[in-house]
Assembly symmetry: C2
């Protein structure tokens, strides 16, 4: 299904940017401004590409673009004749060559996300103004006076009732010296005096389990504080299906879940404001990433149709909402920007992940996998990008695993086997209580490495094991009263539970199904693009769980295609990082807005080839095929 592609989305033309000598191919009708933006080439602008500031001038050397009314306001007839156009209004019709003037100012830039160079250009503008007081000769209304003064500064504004109500008193109390706060084209506040030094925003990543918020200084671009809390919806079930069921089964379910997530965000906000010594009214914009169910629940949109076939979201475009409409305690007119999603199960968190990694903007083929109950998979490059969601089940989160648990204190998060026995790494350095997802991957991979687990996923019999490994390992392979084989990770005397912590044959089957779903999804996408593992430049493992995965283990169990381990990167909370990028740069936000149209969503549940692929990858890879370099494990790449 490719509904997100526009009718003529396949008819592409080339744009050649000078003097940078950069090339890109875009669909007919894309503006030169956006096309430049998508390949990371900055064209000057203060209005965000809406044709009002007149700064985004380019000169067309080849290729046609009509003269728009906005062009006529900015250029003299001779300049129009010479091919000068506002790049935000100029939609390409054919192969085009254009000259981009060097940036006038000296824009701040920062390395953000994963190797991405982002120009700091927030959507929030604070403009200090000294207005001419009115007189009998100049009876313009307060708003008109302000509007015209801001127009002189290059800002064309709208304003709602709230800020208009403040105008007369603020202007006179401040003796006409004020600071205008403009977000996009909306005047959201008028502050007395010069307050241009203080401007803040918050980026949220709403996970099904955890809510993370980052308070950002929009002047310098630096994070001021980071906080997280458990999503208060958790008591209604661990995964999105449980949350959706609650909405379906209870008349007040939607309102309850919305109130819970808003409460979680406000708790995080309170902590951020306290730590940063910032007032609520100084937060002028909020950007949110999260899976589609979470963003629906935040906005009070029912996710019911996401939960049942054919899996339909209520809305998927990025639209204008005030943060106060959902009850966030920030400036009452601050916009709430919820990043769009690609499909019902490939959410705004993945859109943010694409923003942070730039996967869809680079010429090389890359794979982004967010490992969780639903494994979200994105494969592609500048040429073409595909997305899908694979129903992995909760094994990676420790559920349906006999001694499974979440990645909390006491969870075994990493395991190494050797002749000397078992080495466990436990979160919180307490006695082990159970096995979390990354530990599960590790122990299965290690059992494969030492030869206690065959490619079909069968543990050896104890007798066969004793021939294969030393006693300290082989004694741990046992058969339970129920006849099910298991491997003892921790003896009762070192376990924090008083019982042995085991990995059972059934647990291994759960993991096989989970990784089979994801690997099967990857296989479908690779076949669709006609590529093989050798074509992969990089694999990104995303999500907080992704940070902890040992890339080597992921390869050994066949979760990801067999590429060299140094090409596998844990990108951690790429969703939060993408939300931060969208907050700091409205150009990047426009990129995010366009991502759902650039990425094709494949629904696996409708495809026979997914079932075939799933069966093919259910087995573990043969070790001989992996060219293992056991120590070549990259540490998680921390975001700056």
């Amino acid at each position: 299904m490719m509904h997100t592609l526009e009718p003529d989305g396949h008819s592409k033309v080339t744009i050649h940017f000078q003097p940078h000598d950069k090339l890109t191919r875009v669909p007919v009708g894309v503006s030169i401004f956006n096309a430049a933006n998508w390949i990371g080439l900055a064209i000057d602008s203060t209005c965000g590409g809406v044709g009002t500031c007149g700064k985004c001038r380019v000169q067309l050397c080849q290729g046609y673009s009509g003269v728009t009314p906005a062009d006529r306001k900015v250029f003299a007839p001779g300049e129009l004749e010479a091919g000068w156009r506002l790049s935000c209004r100029a939609e390409v019709q054919e192969d085009t060559v254009c000259e981009v003037p060097r940036l006038m100012g000296n824009p701040k830039a920062a390395l953000m996300g994963f190797g991405r160079h982002v120009l700091l250009n927030p959507n929030v503008h604070k403009i200090p103004l000294q207005l001419t007081p009115p007189s009998l000769e100049d009876q313009r209304s307060d708003f008109e006076r302000l509007r015209m003064t801001l127009e002189d500064e290059g800002f064309e504004i709208n304003a709602g009732l709230g800020v208009r109500r403040q105008l007369p008193r603020v202007l006179r109390a401040a003796e006409w010296q004020v600071t205008a706060v403009i977000v996009g084209q909306q005047l959201i506040a008028l502050e007395p005096g010069d307050t241009t030094a203080r401007s803040f925003g918050v980026a949220f990543d709403i996970g099904t389990t955890t809510v993370v918020g980052m308070l950002i200084d929009l002047i310098g671009g630096a994070p001021v504080a980071v906080r997280s809390t458990l999503n208060r919806q958790a008591s209604f079930g661990a995964d999105v299906i449980a949350r959706i069921s609650h909405v379906m089964l209870s008349d007040s379910g939607l309102d309850e879940l919305t109130a819970r997530v808003v409460g979680s965000l406000n708790e995080v906000l309170a902590g951020l404001l306290d730590e940063g010594q910032v007032a609520p009214h100084e937060i002028y914009e909020v950007v949110v990433a999260g899976n589609a169910t979470m963003t629906h629940l935040l906005l009070g949109l029912t996710p019911e149709a996401i939960g049942v076939e054919p899996f339909i979201p209520a809305a998927d475009d990025l639209f204008d909402v005030n943060a106060c409409e959902v009850g966030l305690t920030v400036h009452p007119e601050a916009p709430l920007v919820v990043l769009p999603h690609i499909g019902a199960y490939v959410g705004a968190d993945l859109v943010a992940g694409l923003l942070a990694t730039g996967l869809q903007q680079k010429p090389e083929l890359r794979l982004l996998v967010d490992v969780g109950t639903n494994g979200e998979i994105i494969l592609g490059s500048l040429t073409r990008t595909l997305a899908t969601a694979a129903p992995a089940g909760p094994a990676f989160e420790g559920a349906r695993i006999q001694d499974g648990m979440r990645a909390a204190d006491g969870a075994i998060e990493a395991v190494t086997l050797s002749e000397a026995g078992v080495k466990l790494q436990v979160i919180g350095e307490t006695a082990p209580l159970g096995l979390c997802g990354s530990g599960l991957l590790d122990i299965v991979a290690q059992l494969r490495l030492v030869g206690l687990l065959d490619a079909s996923g069968q543990l050896l019999n104890p007798e066969a094991a004793a021939h294969r490994v030393g006693p300290e390992l082989s004694r741990r392979l046992v058969v339970g009263k129920d006849g099910v084989k298991a491997f003892i990770l921790a003896d009762p005397e070192i376990s924090g539970t008083g019982r042995a912590i085991q990995l059972t044959q059934r647990d291994i089957r759960e993991l096989q199904f989970a990784k089979g779903a994801i690997a099967g999804g990857i296989a479908v996408l690779m076949r669709e693009l006609g590529v093989s593992a050798d074509d992969l430049e990089e694999i990104y493992l995303a999500g907080s769980f992704g940070s902890y995965i040992n890339p080597q283990s992921a390869r050994i169990i066949g979760l990801v295609p067999p590429v060299s381990v140094d090409r596998i990167r844990a990108v951690g909370n790429s969703a939060g990082e993408g939300a931060r990028i969208a907050l700091l740069s409205f150009r990047e936000r426009e990129v995010a807005r366009s991502i759902p149209r650039q990425v094709e969503y494949l629904e696996l549940s409708g495809r026979a080839d997914f079932n075939d692929a799933f069966i093919e990858v259910l087995q573990f890879p043969e070790l001989a095929d992996l060219a293992l370099q056991p120590e070549a494990v990259l540490p998680p790449l921390a975001a700056p």
Copy 2:
């Protein structure tokens, strides 16, 4: 002061429309669509001139207009070459000739206002839809599905959180058969089934004293019900200055006055809905006219700066507010359209009056006077229109007149003098209690006619009177204990108060000052335009008080210039009529939006020539100069 004119507002070009053979002159940069609209020439459109419906095609025969992106979506290259453009996007740059296709449909039209032919084209559209249900092959979100279906129907929409929240459940409960309610470009509701037969709006005229509301059927254009009530703000003072003072003197004053006027509107609404058997959610749009202080108070904008020099409104453009933002009990997403004002004392009621009379669109010179505490005066034609406000004081409303009263039961509203004595017309046909404004004008004019009042405004002495008129009149001219002369209108035995009802010499002076202010304002405007009474095609007397004025009396006292009485028309509640026109036609609303830019506001309090003119017109005209035809009195012209 001419701040409302745009910088290049004086550089005008001619547009010649074919096959209608109509000419107009407009400033450079005006769209052909708007220019046609302003001279009452209808060009087809469903999007309201925002470039999305593609219907407003014209062919340029002469004159340049660039090709816009919207043009390229609609026209083939050959058509562009042949001069076809969307008239709403085509801004004229030079003298232009264009061909307008005949209207495709058969638009409804009605005679409205005063000789105005208005096409029914409300901003509210109800579109019946049968959507294709989603499937695994078509996973568009509910909103995207709806948006694309409406795009096929020619509507490009936005939608807020409220309607998006309803979408999933309404669509499924209605089995994908729904009616979209679009106001402007905003989707405000999605109703199950086909509800296209019912669509309503309300037009309000908010007077300082009275609130009038009209419930309109937006399908047929007919009024369903009309209700009025006293403005509940009245207890805070009779005029706008008293209301503004209350805001200044009390911290809660603004909130109180806003709550009062909203309460008045909701009372009228309740009556309208009850009478029309219409539900609140079926009111999809509200249009409001009123003076600037009233519209400020409705919106919760402080009018303080209107009350003191240099008389500055908080805002003057027509901006988007939801009716529910101010607390009106209509559809929660229905827009509230407050018509703009021209100056602090020439309000939206006068803008609506211009819409109802078309004064600024016609080639002949006309004068519109709204007689009240502030006399609002507009003089002009298509070529140039001026507006001002004259400080008449409350005499016309019966205040500061010894036996003055409002136009209520018992008020003497008309007077005729003859040798037989005094003939009184009393409201409610009860015994007379006092004299209202129209009666005041009549008695003073009649005293002039019978020769008991000289041109300087002096009543004759009783002795001189006895020589001039018969005993039944002369006996009524008396000198009170305080030495002040008076004319007895009603003897104690027929008066409802038990006392005689009199017009005193002091009352006559009050009226002289009041009429002098208005006549002085008119004189300043006429001098500014360089015109004389002979150039005046028509004089409109507006406001509810204007309906009752005897035009002959207005001439005799010199309130209006000395034109033939058949050129003086009482246009009644032209403000309410203009609000109704703006509700029934978004094109007319665009005209209203442009009126403040087309009309120049003159502030009298800054002008020495106003004081001179005031002194000149303080006297009453010589009867010999008036060429009187005593019976040539037009009845009030009722709006249809």
